[in-house]
């Protein structure tokens, strides 16, 4: 008999609004306190202390507009937050400071979360949806210089970009960008040439979220329909659908592959978090706690595997923390 699904390890309350973005920063050593950032609909970013399970700080930088993306750049001191006020802010959180040191005005009104990739020490690439409807802009940080702007061919009718994933092959190869569009297709962009390498139509509905495993050259995408789609990238840089998985309820708002590439978690509109094995997409567990749509799932980056956590933020204002590692 299968084990019943576990309970959350802890539930963080007090965001006061639906949670849209989550990001762990737990890689530090012993004196460092593991931290979870959460961005909520009321524009606040909460810094959760994972030892006391309490809010250490609440950052208000997006004019009470929903925060939809959170990333850190080298540790928890520098936080990148993307809000619906069309700005991407860089926070300096060192030594208790809570100030915005820099910001980028994207002029994009969509829901697309930006993607961040560290290409060298002190050099990041950030992909974000641009002002023009179908365009994606890639910036270099911290200089904020534009690397390229990716425009689909005229007449492609892709719609808005919905999700982005910057990635880089193992041996220092060129960074590439995977982008999911409103029409259900996933495109692979070459950043240096600014050309589409491959296009794959894997959903009938907008691609809500995708994640890519650069080691196995395999990615997964979820949309507002009942299908999860796994596709792979072959040597010819072509995307191919490998497998699809039908869900009971429609709608996936977030997909994350665990850093060790063994399992993945999806955030469902049906209030549930689903855990799959990454290798064969074997369903492992359905975590049922939330009472509203789950917006975001995130795996922690703790050094020791036994400490690692899964966090899910939902529309019911709660963030549930799960111990998944011990279960698998």
């Amino acid at each position: 008999m299968a084990q019943p699904p576990p309970d959350p390890h802890f539930v963080l309350r007090g965001t006061g609004a639906a949670v849209h973005a989550l990001h762990f920063s737990c890689g530090g050593g012993e004196p460092d306190i593991p931290v979870l950032f959460s961005g909520s609909e009321n524009g606040f970013i909460h810094v959760w202390n994972l030892k006391t399970h309490r809010v250490d700080a609440a950052l208000d930088g997006h004019g009470r507009k929903s925060v939809c993306g959170l990333k850190t750049m080298d540790g928890k001191e520098r936080l990148l937050s993307q809000g619906r006020d069309q700005r991407i802010c860089l926070w300096d959180l060192a030594e208790g400071r809570t100030s915005v040191t820099d910001s980028v005005f994207t002029e994009n009104v969509g829901f697309c979360r930006c993607s961040l990739l560290k290409v060298a020490e002190g050099r990041w690439l950030m992909a974000t949806a641009a002002k023009a409807l179908e365009e994606v802009q890639v910036l270099e940080l911290p200089s904020k210089t534009s690397v390229c702007t990716l425009k689909p061919e005229v007449g492609a009718k892709l719609g808005m970009p919905m999700c982005l994933k910057l990635w880089q092959g193992s041996c220092g190869s060129q960074p590439s960008l995977l982008a999911g569009y409103e029409d259900g297709s996933v495109l692979l962009w070459n950043l240096s040439t600014g050309k589409v390498l491959s296009q794959l139509i894997c959903h009938q509905e907008p691609v809500m979220s995708l994640d890519f495993d650069s080691e196995k050259a395999k990615g997964i995408s979820g949309s507002s329909e009942k299908v999860l789609s796994i596709w792979s990238l072959n040597e010819q840089q072509n995307l191919q659908v490998q497998k699809t998985h039908r869900l009971v309820n429609a709608g996936i708002s977030d997909i994350t592959i665990r850093p060790d590439k063994k399992i993945l978690a999806t955030a469902g509109w049906d209030h549930r978090i689903r855990i799959f094995g990454w290798k064969k997409l074997k369903p492992l567990a359905v975590l049922d706690y939330h009472t509203a749509t789950v917006h975001s799932v995130s795996f922690s980056d703790h050094k020791s595997p036994s400490d690692r956590l899964l966090a899910a933020g939902a529309k019911d204002h709660r963030i549930s923390i799960w111990l998944i590692y011990t279960q698998t």
């Binding site: 008999m1 084990q3 019943p4 576990p6 309970d7 959350p8 802890f10 539930v11 309350r13 007090g14 030892k51 006391t52 399970h53 309490r54 706690y289 009472t291």
Partner: protein, 1293 residues
Amino acid sequence: MDEPQRQRLHALLRVAQLRQLLLQRRLRKGGHGGGPAPRRACSARGRARRGRTDSNPVPQDGRPPSHPATRGQRAASTGRQEGQATQRPPSGAGGRRAAHARPVGEARQDAADARCLFVRGGACAVRATATFLTALSPLISLGLFVAPRTRAVPPSLPAREGLTPGAGRRCPAARPRGRALRLSSEGEPAGPSHPGHPAMAVFDTPQEAFGALRPACVQLTKAQTVENVAQLEARLAAVGAGALQELQEYVLFPLRFALKVPGPRRERVVQRVLQCLSAVLLGTRVRSPRLLRELLSELCSCLPAPHGAPAPAEELQLAAVRALLALMHSAQGDAIVALYQPSCLPLLGFAVSLLLGLAERERAKQIKLAALECLQVLLLQCECQEHRCLREEEAQRCGDLFASFLPGVSIALSRIIAGDVKQGHRTTVSAIRLFYQIVGLVMADEQLARVPKQKEKPSVEQSRIAELIVHRGPEWSRSTSEKLSLLLRKTVELSSVHSHWKVRLELVELVQHLLSNCRLSLVDSFTHLLKALVGLVNDENSEVQSRCNEVLRGIAEQQVIAQSRALADVLSENLHSLATALPRLMNSQDDTGKFSTLSLLLGYLKLLGPKVNVVLNSVSHLHRLSKALMQVLELDVTDVKIVEDRRWGCVGGYDPSGSVQHGVQKGRCQRKYFRFFTEEKIFQLLQQVCRVLGYYGNIYLLVDHFMGLYSESAVYRKQAAMVLNELIAGAAGVGVDVLQEREVSLSMDDLKGSIMSILEEYTDQANWYLVTSIDTEEVSHEQLSVPRSGLAALPGAASSSILPSPEQHITTRTMNSNVWQLCIQLEGVGCFAAVLGREFRLLLLSALYPVLEKAGDKTLLISETAQGTLVDICEACGYDSVQSLINENSDYLVNGISLNLRQLAHQPHAAQVLGTMLRHSDASLLPLVEDVIQDVLSALDQSYNDQASTFLGVLHSLMAALVQWFGLSCSKEHQQRQAAEGQSRTLSHIQQEITSQEVERFFLDYIKQKQIAEGNFSDSGDEEADEVSPLAKPEPSNCDTEGETPLPSHAQLAKDVMERCIHLLSDRNLRVRLKVLDVLELCVTVLHPHGNHLLPMAHRVWPALVTRLISDDPLAVLRAFKVLCTLAQKCGDFLRQRFSKDVLPKLTSSLLSQAAASARAGPVYNHTLAYKLQLAVLQGLGSLCEKLDMGESDLNKVADACLVYLSAKQPMKLQEAAQSVFRHLMRVDPDSTWLFLTEVCCPHPYEPPHASLQPVKLRGMGRQRNEFTDSILLLLEELQQRESAGAQRAPPP
């Protein structure tokens, strides 16, 4: 007496006279200082030789002397026989004693006797010394060494009287010297020569003194009589100290001569002489070694020989001992040094043996004491300032000398110590003191370390004496310490239980002395010594206690134990054997015994101090110790009351006083009852034991070990938890009483680590959720709702074994045990908090929820303990109150609750936590828990059937809390409204005032109304209408404005809860229905101010409520009626129609039908449910009518129904209740009520004021007095008063 002796004595006399003349001459010339020392007429050697040539005069009958009288007679007879045989008078104590009793005619014999003794002295000395010294040989067998003396003291010696107690150990020489002399012994009153005598002249120069003393001295030399001695004494008293020092030898001569004088010895003279001698000695210093030696031997000769010889009179002995004491005190530096040479060993040995004999065998306390004191001085252990400390080499030499006496002295002393209690504590004390002083000197580690390996070869001429000197080599010291250890053991055993505290105090000193001086040499003895010392820590006498503590502290501070491996070994050995014996002792001893045993244990641990770790590292030690603790700490779990005591707070009703930490104080530890002891102080000892362990021991090791025991068996669990709690307290240094600081104090992190692991274990499901009660309600629900298979899969799978399975019988004992275990664990949590202080805040995440869970437990003991723990946590973490603790950590709690709500099996606990939170907090908590309350409601929605009862508990506490938090505002509004209503009513009363104007206005109004009704409208009356309306207005406006604004959260909650209640009102379980009704009432109270929301809810509730009112168990009806009353307060006319249609008929009919029953019933009826129902209905009906503003017909129905209860036949309470109904009716409609009442009974005839009016005719007029009369008259009276009061209050129009 033979010729040569006589000649010799004459010669001696002559020489003395000559010397005196010479001295006189020299003094007249003004010369100073003594002349050449007079040649001794009779040297010790000579005497010795002569003594040896003499036959032994001591009777050697070998039998123990039985009775003094017979002994004396026998001695006398043998003496006489001997005297006949050898032409010499008998000698020995018996003889002299007999002489004492005999007529004066035999005095001659005494004199001869004394002379005989004098001559015999030397021989005795040598013989005694020789026998004594042979006994000292270390090679002597052990048996001989300790063999008890076969010669017992006759048991039936008559008690001696007339001996005043002496000054004890006080040293005579300690008195200021030289000022004046006291010639009498201390016990006797001073003679004419009292120093304070004013008539006496003082001679300060030697010349004057000489002149004064000379005649007396000469006289004394010529004739040794008491008078002459007294004369000398008198003269002496007048001589200054300086002068006396000059004349010391001169004065001493006649005295010494008197002692040595040939011829029969007269005891009184000798005694007087001795007294005088000691007086002189006390006033002067003996500087010449020779004089010292001679005096010593002469004085010794006055003492009775050790074996068999009949003793002289006690006074004489005492005087002799005192003189000896004076001598030793007056001896000065060089003289002393010279005395303690190997050559003097025989003499010293002789004196020692004599004194020992006295101390041991004499019966008189004073003599014993004096002898012991004398011995002390003789062995250079006197404590007076006069005697400076021995220099190192001197001490070494003396040690060598005294080593020879050690065996004899120690055996004799230990016999004295072991002697009869009747000898008095002072004797024992001095004996103990002397014992440890001599042992401490001879066995001193310092000295032994300096003793060369090989004995030095003595020079030839000293060889005889040198043979006597013991070589204190390693072998000697080993064998001696073996023997001493036996003696010490005996001594310690006897004196540690001695009834007099001074003896025990002295024992402490003994241990201290030996421990500081003979740590190495006597290591074998320390088992007993330390045991005694540690045991005395808890002596009943405070002085002993404090000294003992002082000594222990001293030992610890000097790190005696830490430095000496051997002592640590001894201690750990002791500890081990004690731990082994502990369970047995605990079983067999009484509380006092247990107390001392445990204080022994504690003492060992304290003494070991940091060395405890060495002990703990040994598995067997730790095992023994822990097992012993486990057994000793076993709790008594037979008390049923613990299990029975219930906390009713949350069940019965909301008790606001319970929310404030009332009755919960710090340090309120529930008293535990143990199986093996009852006294609290024993428990405190055990606590200390654990704390000291924790303080010194390796905390990881200990925690690990006891955690092992904790999980090993349920038998040990409680004890292990107790020990763990104390260990942690000890480790943190809380409440530990230790002798020395530990080297490294524990770091906070280590402590936290240990605490965290213990906490985790404590709050583990298997150890936290124990069955503490068989609450049929709860258990059955748990049983029903929890599928066994499902439970096993839950995270708390282990709990399946704890949850009661139906077939498993849970005894009270088990539950009691569980209750205790939880209490101990809760106390532990409190203790950990106290230890960690603010650091504990981090642990609140995991610790607070379980504690709160237990604070809501139904078992009184557990909930009280948990509340105490909460207070502890508050204090430790720096929260102001339990409330702020809960509020500030509500996120943790809410998290726990919401997660646990998901597990059906644990729902009751989660509900308890919420209940506790609500009980302990205030309105500020509400926003924090709103979230989780929604969870509770949704969980309730999912499981109506089986968990309803549990949830209702939570809902009840929630609503009760809401009422408490927000009820004030509700009731305020309510009061305001009531006040407004009241005002308007009084106004209406004013209008009803009956004055002629009023009547006129009424009539005019009536006409106007009629006109309006008929359509003839005019504006004239509007002014008055305006006057009234503003007062009546506020009420409706209040309701209107509220409809639009959103409900405050608490009201919304109440509404949500009420909605659930509607569904549950028709639950098939009566208990649930009752609970629902309670909750409903609270909901209504909370929703009061929000009429727009309340009314629709009331509408929805109504059908179900009516069913309860009409056709349900009386209990439910009762509650439902209460709800109805509450509801009516707000809803008013909204319910009027429904009430009069649905409920009233039923109520009135039941009232009417029941009236007959209650009228007939006896006093027992008051306890029936029917009565309660009647009462409740009658009490509520009045206000109900008023609130609902009932119509006339309904009021009549009510009045009809209530009338029967006005009957005097009804129980008093019901009558009163019925009267109250009428009072309410009066308020609603006074006129019709008046009419109704007067219909039944009318006391007054109402005569019309004018003949034109018809006379008033009422049906009640002129009726006979009946059962209703009293009540009705009362009511009418009240009505009358109300009216008139209203009239008075009304302003004149």
